[in-house]
Point group: C2
Chain length 136, copies 2
DNA sequence: CATACTGTAACTATTTTTATTACAGAACAA
DNA sequence: TTGTTCTGTAATAAAAATAGTTACAGTATG
């Protein structure tokens, strides 16, 4: 992250929950999200890697949840989807000749890890079932 | 956020704390961060807007902290620096003809606000003084 | 064997972020 | 009062990240 990986993944999972086991194909899902089907397939590949969804190839194929929605918590989804640190991840190396520059990356990482842990903990208190149930 | 606004702001504040009231100019700060001085000046302008720093124009000018580092908490810095939601903020509108697409932006925003509040609360438990003191 | 999917790669377009250039205005010091 | 060195800010350019597109091999189905 950032970008829209988490939003897209959660959108996919919510759709899959709402249709109760029915297979949805990437074009249908992309139509709901309003994005490119290939992006959906990439996101599904990642969700599959982490065991959240199952896919069936070939004609009539598509995807479905691989777990009970009550057993999918949003912190786990976040971790599966996350690609980089939420706050930091700057690419330009601070100046090693400066006492602050030399150490700040380390200290920022500690700070960010701790803050992000708090965020994930919050997300972990909610399941896909909870989230999906808020739709009417 | 994201990007490096928070990292840069915190780097600036740490430097200003370490030099104990001495004025630092944008070129010096940029040298420690290893970025462009104009970026530092923009970041300083924002920190000034929120009352964290004071600047002095003209020859011999520069910036210094406007508050006691023990009274600057990192959650406040985060809020001052933040430009967009940490998780969400997708620009393509989901499909309004889909029950999930129609409501998901709202539900994601609720989810993200709550998660981000947990993150800010974590950051708020730490002051610039604490952070700066971890440098040796 | 035609059809309709997934999975994936390669490429392009778009958007976001960062860097650069430029210059007016402020403070200082000779 | 003039040259110097800063800030503040705008406009632009470059670079990086993100999303979209095209293409196609492989797989299941009828």
């Amino acid at each position: 992250m950032n970008s829209s990986h988490f939003s897209i993944s959660l959108h996919i999972l919510t759709l899959l929950d709402q249709v109760k086991g029915q297979l949805l194909n990437s074009e249908y899902i992309a139509g709901s999200i309003n994005c490119n089907p290939v992006l959906v397939r990439k996101e599904l590949a990642n969700l599959h890697k982490y065991g959240f969804v199952q896919s069936k190839e070939g004609k009539g194929g598509g995807s479905t949840l691989a777990k009970n929605p009550a057993d999918i918590n949003l912190g786990d989804v976040y971790r599966a989807v996350k690609q980089k640190s939420l706050l930091g991840e700057s690419k330009n190396e601070p100046n090693p000749d400066c006492p602050v520059g030399r150490q700040i990356t380390l200290h920022l990482n500690d700070l960010y890890d701790d803050a992000e842990t708090a965020l994930v903990k919050n997300l972990s208190s909610k399941t896909l079932k909870d989230f999906s149930a808020s739709f009417k």
